[in-house]
Symmetry: C2
Subunit: 453 residues, 2 copies
């Protein structure tokens, strides 16, 4: 891989070339290409590699760039990289990182290593990190940067400008300065645009935004994501319970939260852990996923037990065994559509008591309408296949019942789970398909036992 | 609902109160509360309502705020609001909107209304909108704002500052100014921090960032989302093929793209359309979802047909009918775990030819390991239930085979779909469960026919 072309390549091609360089032992060439790449790209490259080449490539990343690369690596792969580092290397990397990134890294370290890194940092840096680490994971306090520029309300813009000029550089993404009172209380924000375009003689108090959005240190990541997304923000002030300014959260960290939330929702729906690394080794992967398979096994044996209650009917009419998956499966599909919409509505906070009845009636209507259409078609196919009017009628009614049950539980299951404080994205689908399997088998085989035997 | 308390409420409570105000005919009280709310909150409130109250509430939003509210409403609900507006109202709303928001609104209007709105706009505004509209939907050109401040490279920072002071206000989220040459070609960006803290006598050319990130007008939304997320950007310049500066894209619009992409992925996995509104009426909802049910019906009849090939075995051993869903279902769950990871890996661009073999072997390993564990357990349960060693052995082998097939197709199906240019998030799960159903029934019933009859 050539260092000049490396910068124009898509990630997958980069992975391709890096692995071929490694395979051919061209480590020097790869090392110089890595040194030229943006740390974000190096992070992507490492994430796109199995453990062995990932380790080899990480060894080739220049030590003075590792901190920056680690900051860009997503949670799931970060731990595997840190495992490879010596304490001295970690300290060097820590010195290059922002507060919030370093806090994330320290989180996954064993306690003694955290201590080593913290004591090696400069007094000031260490104190800032310790402040951030004192807030629980997943809160605004943990996500904030304490590297903030704050100004007084009683000075003029000219003074602010002169004072800013004393800084060599502003913290990244400074779209506004924070205005604080004598007692450290947050008063509002002063837009950088105003600093530049405003009349130099005007007072900060007169041109600042007093009622700007803000976040409390204990706000959750999802609340922050909703706030930033709704209000199109770049940064917000983080305050403690007494309105004192603690730090600032910027959109780039919130973008990571949004991505991680979406990711978590997707992975959870398949019973995967949020930190699942595509390139994790076999045994831990198998163990993590096995739990989900075990839960599913219980529910599928419940369905099998329901079927077992109708051995008699199945023995007499073998067509029942052939057709029963149709009823169960159609219910599962229809139910998962309703479930997905309900889970999204809950996430967007759109489901209130006042509209619940409307929603339920609508979904039952959709279920009934699709039930009619597809029950008729399934009945026709069943009749053509097995030449039995009774069977055709039984499957049609069973299908109707199952689509209505699917619509009802597609709304009820996630809402009940949500009220119980359980995330419906994780267990909603399992419970729902258990319902549609059981109702599907029970109604089809039950009706057949009643009317066809 | 009281206008002062309204601002402190969570969205679901807001919906609750607004609907109770409507039900009791307190429209004036609701109208004054709406006038006090942030337009983003009004947007959320409207999205959380069924069609009837949504329409009634929309009527109460002050006309001079409708443009801003429309800009915050997500795509799925926006169309229902626009339908309610008179052409004059649309024109007034259009005048309050940013280029990129207005372009999105114009997209859903009938051609004659678009014409009416465009001709009513000021010359300058219209020309900007037409430029944005000339790019296809889903590209950087369509997402950009043409409201950009650009400066020359050969002036000093003092000149830039003086010149900025002539503006009453900067465009929102101006973290950097764009530097262009005499011919309109983009040269780089000048950080606002540098403008403020830099030496006033230094030349722009000497303090700008020449190799800053940029986007071509034809770049796709997902490429932009990846760029912003990877590089922690606030804004990028949008250029045409000749490097001329066309506009600027800011992170707030990209956050919407990221949210919509995640949403689309989630909805697609249940065969729902990306613009599905939780409160859409019954008939169109039923029609949209019916398509997916129809596709599923074909695949489940395929599975039923496979079962039908073994009527003979099913007639003789009724336990086969009871246990067959276990084999199929476990394969489906294991396969969907692999599928989810592969789809995510493809989205993150982590799957390259060089690591494909490693991945496949890993997933087969996970499948084999979990296959062994759960096959043993299932065999034990089957043996306890039906007291047949043959049946227990047959189900164990079938389960092993199906988990291996699930691992293989969890990797192969999405990769093949991706290479064919089909989004695996939509059809991957259907194809996968068809494979695991067919392999599950075929291996279990087939082995039973061979060894147990």
């Amino acid at each position: 891989m050539d260092s000049t072309t490396a910068q124009q390549l898509a990630l997958a091609e980069l992975v391709e070339l890096a692995q071929s360089d490694l395979a051919q032992g061209w480590t020097e060439r790869l090392a110089s290409a890595l040194a030229e790449l943006h740390p974000a790209e190096v992070a992507g490259l490492l994430e796109g590699m199995p453990p062995e080449p990932r380790r080899a490539t990480w060894e080739l990343v220049p030590e003075d760039q590792r901190g920056e690369v680690l900051a860009y690596v997503h949670d799931e792969a970060r731990a595997t990289l840190i495992d490879e580092m010596q304490p001295e290397e970690l300290v060097e990397a820590a010195e290059q990182m922002d507060d919030e990134d370093l806090a994330e890294v320290l989180d996954v370290l064993p306690a003694d290593l955290t201590e080593t890194v913290l004591t090696a940092l400069e007094e000031d840096h260490r104190r800032r990190i310790e402040a951030v680490l004192s807030y629980p994971e997943g809160t605004a306090g943990r996500l904030m940067s304490t590297d903030v520029i704050s100004v007084r309300a009683d000075v003029t813009l000219a003074v602010v400008l002169r004072w800013l000029r004393l800084h060599l550089r502003l913290p990244p993404h400074t779209d506004a300065l924070m205005v604080v009172g004598d007692d450290g209380r947050y008063l509002g924000k002063l837009d950088m645009g105003t600093v530049v375009t405003g009349d130099p003689d005007s007072l900060v108090a007169d041109v600042m935004e007093p009622a700007a959005e803000l976040a409390r240190a204990e706000a959750t990541e999802s609340e922050l994501a909703a706030l930033f997304e709704r209000r199109d923000l770049i940064s917000v002030a983080v305050l403690d319970a007494e309105d004192r300014l603690l730090g600032r959260i910027t959109i780039d960290d919130v973008v990571d939260v949004i991505r991680e939330e979406a990711d978590r929702r997707l992975l959870k729906s398949a019973g995967l852990e949020e930190e699942e690394d595509l390139f994790a080794p076999v045994i831990p992967s198998a163990r993590r996923r096995g739990v989900w398979l075990g839960i599913n096994l219980v529910t599928v044996f419940l369905a099998a037990w329901v079927i077992g209650r109708f051995e008699d009917a199945l023995e007499k009419i073998v067509a029942l065994a052939v057709l029963m998956p149709v009823v169960a499966s159609m219910g599962g599909i229809a139910g998962s559509q309703t479930l997905t919409l309900t889970i999204r509505g809950l996430a967007l906070n759109q489901i209130a008591d006042a509209n619940l009845r409307w929603l339920l009636l609508k979904e039952l209507g959709v279920g009934a309408l699709n039930g009619l259409v597809w029950a008729a078609l399934v009945a026709l196919v069943a009749w053509l296949w097995f030449q039995s009017t009774g069977l055709a009628m039984v499957i049609a009614v069973a299908m109707m019942l199952n689509l209505l049950a699917a619509a009802f539980s597609g709304i009820a299951v996630p809402i009940i789970l949500h009220r119980l404080g359980i995330d419906p994205a994780l267990s909603g689908a399992v419970i729902l398909t258990t319902v549609t399997d059981v109702v599907g088998f029970l109604s089809f085989l039950g009706l057949a036992s009643l009317f066809l035997l």
